[in-house]
């Protein structure tokens, strides 16, 4: 018995712990953005001004996130039963939309990962930024 207990204790010590990972049920409202451009600020990466680039990036497999009004980013890894998180046509078609979703949030090593369980609302593209900022990055 002691052997089993020691073995179990040793195994537990060897397994990698999910460092600072936390899981919580959340509701998130915000704009679907291509994470790279939005975070790096390379160009004006919000709303209609950036829609063209956001579509390209989603096709190219740049992670898609929801950016909320407080500037938080939630990197999407799943929508309901759809677990394709790279170059998913479903994402491409709703880039720049304002959505409200329910999901499971897991935060690890400085990034919030979101497993969406339900899309509660989709307002479409409501952030009309192109008149002031043009079409990014190359114009149209």
């Amino acid at each position: 018995m002691l052997k089993y207990l020691l073995g179990a204790a040793l195994l537990g010590a060897m397994l990698p712990a999910p460092a600072n990972a936390q899981s919580a049920r959340v509701q998130v409202k915000g704009e679907l953005v291509d994470t790279w451009c939005s975070v790096t600020g390379i160009m004006f990466a919000a709303g209609t001004a950036h829609h063209l680039c956001a579509v390209w990036c989603a096709v190219g497999g740049i992670p898609v996130s929801i950016k909320d009004a407080d500037g938080n980013y939630y990197m999407i890894l799943r929508i309901a039963e759809d677990d394709e998180s790279a170059s998913n046509p479903r994402f491409v078609k709703i880039m720049s939309h304002e959505v409200t979703v329910d999901g499971e949030l897991i935060e690890r090593d400085g990034t919030k990962y979101l497993f969406v369980t339900q899309v509660r609302d989709d307002q479409g593209v409501v952030n009309l930024t192109h008149e002031d900022n043009g079409i990014q990055p190359f114009g149209n």
Binding site: A86, R108, G110, T111
Partner: protein, 158 residues
């Protein structure tokens, strides 16, 4: 003129050096070279693990030697992620050269070059371009000719 300047700046910024990772001047960026294990991010977080790291349809990441999970958000190809570059190394430890973006709101990695070990030459992370051209033909601007992107833009406008 503004378009030309923006285009030139963008093109310059996304041209990787043949010698080493290139800084982009992004706030919170660090030039990094590190070894890490290639993982399916959803698998790592939730133990939801299809074969072959999802076969190219899932976001991949890198678990560093000190256990940090870093999503691989960008590769060297314009407007493209690093999934196709990393997929052949699913579960393996590789060496990565690129940028670590440690924004207070989110952290991720741009993979500019990679190799399996130090005996190999670095190769640019541009597998998306390679695979896209195999399907659609050669193009210096894949994004302008992508059928799905053009269909969505035609329907929604820019």
């Amino acid at each position: 003129m503004r378009k030309i300047v923006l285009s030139a700046l963008f093109a310059f910024a996304i041209t990787p050096s043949a010698q080493a990772a290139e800084a982009w001047g992004i706030e919170h960026e660090k030039l990094v070279e590190f070894s890490a294990r290639v993982v399916d991010v959803a698998c790592t977080l939730k133990n939801d693990c299809p074969p072959d790291c999802g076969g190219g349809k899932r976001l991949l990441g890198l678990v560093t030697d000190d256990g940090k999970l870093r999503a691989a958000a960008k590769a060297s190809t314009d407007f493209a992620g690093a999934v196709r570059d990393l997929l052949p190394f699913c579960g393996k430890t590789i060496q990565v050269d690129g940028l670590l973006i440690e924004n207070p709101a989110i952290t991720f990695v741009m993979v500019q070059r990679l190799r399996e070990n130090s005996t190999q030459e670095w190769r640019k992370a541009e597998a998306f371009q390679r695979d896209w051209e195999a399907l659609n033909g050669k193009s210096d601007e894949w994004y302008r000719k992508d059928p799905l992107a053009n269909r969505v833009i035609a329907e929604d406008g820019v």
